[in-house]
Homo-oligomer: 480 residues x 2
């Protein structure tokens, strides 16, 4: 399955043409854009399509309309460039980020803070009513099963539905290949416990989700870090060179919309990385939780779909799309199935029954696809608005990603701006953000910041971003 990027909507090609004119210098700040009519003639598209493109550009803060004069490039518009990739020293090292992570997490989980910290769809976007109705029905219609232990691998109907609706068809994951877990994190924990012993090396991309670093630390594992570029993720050459130098027992990758940099590793690179790992018999633990949140184009391909040898252990969940607090996820552990099942049994016997039964009915009713559609469109829109606002109110030299899916923006602050300091100051202003250093064991991420996008725009969120911009400008020693 190819993951070539396409513009599925016509208006997006108009949008791209305008952006190219601005970025190429054809249109400067304050310049008037071609009229809608002129643009219609130029592109051969309908007036309404051109109009939609202009509306989008306006909502992103790129252009503004002036009554009876047309559209103009905003004087305040700065298109933020993408952050630069950073090198990483892959020397295996013991992980010791827990203390900083703990401090950040305690703040970020605080519901009174502006929600730019935790990755979680905004409450209005969760299918709460549908799930409540379904859960109630499940308890009423199948009380005995809902009260009893599930089997260790998990509810059969749920596994069937997941196999059918929630996995890459190319991966051909069958219901019996699946183990239901209490979220994707439990899947990951099971994988590493099944594959490693304390002191072993684990290959990870950097930056990576801080919970993975915590997990390595807890299991006494050593991290071999390869760089994750904010656009194309992991470069096979870096993997090859790390594997030549160090013996590695397992590898964790989040190829599609990596948390925190949103990067998407191209299919060709995935193939090459998988081949390198196979040569050395290194299992790959794949974090797949953001793949279904792709905005446009086909679903990016998973490592699992490219795996012919059962070496990929895929971890996924409904936590980022349907119901974070229900703790329902799944693991497709390939040829490590029996070992993973044993670890699951001794972790907590099985996953909670009513939660699994209700999710199975939710999926069977076709509500997952509907939920994804709604959520993707909301998150994409919020990201665009956020990027526009960052251009207006963050200090000059700020860079930000433009991810094709997922739920985070990854920001490079300019100059000496220290993101951990910004985290503390933002917290005093009631704003939750996550600073770069907790996503890595490397140096060089002190000025990075992760902003999460729950999918809803509000005045208070806009105000929080403006405040954050001022704080960042103070730290950077520049004006926004």
């Amino acid at each position: 399955m190819q993951s070539t990027w396409q513009e599925p909507f016509l208006y997006q090609s108009v949008e791209r043409q305008i952006m190219e004119m601005i970025e190429g210098g054809t249109l400067e700040k304050g310049d008037r854009l071609p009229s809608l009519r002129a643009m219609r003639v130029r592109t051969g598209l309908s007036l309404s399509t051109v109009n939609q493109a202009y509306m989008e550009l306006e909502s992103k803060g790129v252009i503004e309309s002036r009554p009876r004069s047309g559209f103009f490039v905003r004087r305040s518009f700065r298109r933020l460039e993408a952050p630069l990739p950073r090198p990483a020293n892959p020397t295996p090292r013991a992980v010791n980020r827990s203390q900083l992570i703990q401090t950040v997490l305690e703040a970020v989980g605080n519901p009174s803070l502006a929600p730019l910290g935790v990755i979680c769809p905004t409450e209005e976007l969760l299918p709460t009513k549908a799930l409540t109705r379904i859960l109630n029905r499940v308890m009423r219609e199948h009380p005995t099963r809902a009260m009893s232990y599930e089997t260790i691998p998990g509810n059969e109907e749920l596994r069937r539905q997941i196999s059918f609706r929630c996995t890459d068809p190319e991966a051909a994951i069958k219901p019996d290949d699946l183990i239901i877990t209490a979220g994707a994190m439990e899947g990951l924990s099971i994988c590493l416990r099944a594959l490693t012993r304390p002191g072993d090396n684990v290959l990870i991309q950097t930056p990576t989700y801080y919970c993975f670093l915590q997990l390595l630390e807890n299991l006494g594992l050593r991290a071999v870090e390869v760089p994750s570029g904010p656009e194309t993720g992991v470069d096979p050459a870096d993997v090859a060179s790390a594997l030549e130098k160090y013996e590695v027992k397992a590898c964790i990758m989040c190829p599609n919309f990596n948390n925190p940099d949103g990067s998407l590793t191209p299919t060709r690179a995935k193939r090459e990385i998988l081949r390198l790992l196979e040569q050395r018999d290194v299992p790959l633990v794949e974090d797949d939780v953001y793949t279904d949140l792709h905005f446009t184009g086909p679903r990016p391909c998973s490592y699992k779909a490219l795996d012919n040898k059962g070496m990929v252990m895929l971890c996924c969940s409904f936590s980022k799309s349907v119901c974070p607090g229900w703790r329902v996820g799944w693991l497709a552990p390939g040829r490590f199935h029996d070992r993973a099942l044993e670890v699951k049994a001794t972790t907590n016997v099985c996953t909670a029954s009513p939660n699994q039964m209700a999710m199975a009915e939710f999926l069977a009713a076709g509500l997952y696809e509907r939920q994804l559609k709604r959520l993707r469109s909301a998150v994409e829109k919020q990201m665009r608005l956020m990027r526009g606002l960052l251009g207006q109110c963050f200090p000059a030299g700020t860079r930000v990603t433009e991810p094709r899916g997922g739920a985070v923006l990854w920001v490079d602050l300019p100059g000496q701006a220290d993101a951990v300091e910004l985290f503390y100051r933002a917290k005093e202003h009631g704003i939750g953000v996550v600073p770069g250093p907790i996503f890595t064991m490397q140096e060089g991420f002190d000025n990075c910041l992760r902003l999460s996008c729950g999918g809803v725009w509000s005045e208070s969120l806009e105000q929080a971003l403006r405040t954050l911009g001022s704080l960042a400008s103070e730290l950077a020693g520049t004006d926004a």
Copy 2:
């Protein structure tokens, strides 16, 4: 807190007197018992009290009434003696029981088998309607919280309720001392992962819950086994001698109604064992899941209540009393709280929210106490009936425990009867039982059998026990 054993009901003293007359030879098989009136005079108790004692003895299969003639010791009555304790060789050994355990578990979890395998209250005894109502209300009244991630330590109100209602008051466990887990097994897994590294020795009693052996095997730990006698559990002298010979990193004990032998370690022995462990700085992981299922007398004291140094990590859950499939339990990890919290976070972030919220309301409504009362009385009654029936239809020389709580009977089959063989034959007859060898790494448990008591008596259960008795008699080479 003392755990001296008392007879809380007057009729029980009458029952005991009769049993003493039978066991002492004063009354032989076929003999007529003293009339109700004579016994009233002899004991000074009311006629209805004496009558109740006779009814109980009849229900246990000890005596029978003959019309217009009075009560007689049944000719078929055999009071089964308690199984004998077995010695154990504490030499540390790698655990390798997984395969047998897996085979047994696959059969035992099969709902079409007669339920003498899995320990789980019978469906009719679970508070399903109350929990359904409460869960529905929670989802309706607090939708946002029910959909969101809980904090890592778990729902605050639930921890408050557990601290108040579900823990030994002498242990003075505060809400902030607790971490909510997906069942007690998750607590145990967290404790061992927090305390040990592969290759470490862990002191356990034998026989012990097979999942603990699986856990040791999965974590690459070595078992140092001390004997658990079927009546008084673990002898401090055995612990002292094992600790002198081997370095031990942690200890797992189920002091109250140990699964599978139902043993109750006396308070004095608990004190002594705790002192021995403290001297060597060995943390004690306490499995407390059966304590609330004590039949009579005060709640037996927990190790936690005797611990002044924070060395005891107590694991408990609602799985054996309220809702097995909901996966809600708790861990009171003493001075290992922060480490345990880190392990919980990297296991699965947090326990499911709606399940925790509903359990909090269930407790707050006072329904836990009511549920325990109902369940205890049902299980005690079933155990009595089962013991009586075993006396009638199991081969001569069979021994069985008479536990003061919990949910299992532990049976010694006579002679060469092999319990693993019995397990396979019983399975063919649609009966689920659990054979002794999966509870230990020692030799000498081949003729042991665990029978679980879900709390409800039925004709089909009686028939299953009779069939089991015939199969056991065949294997023992004797008649019932």
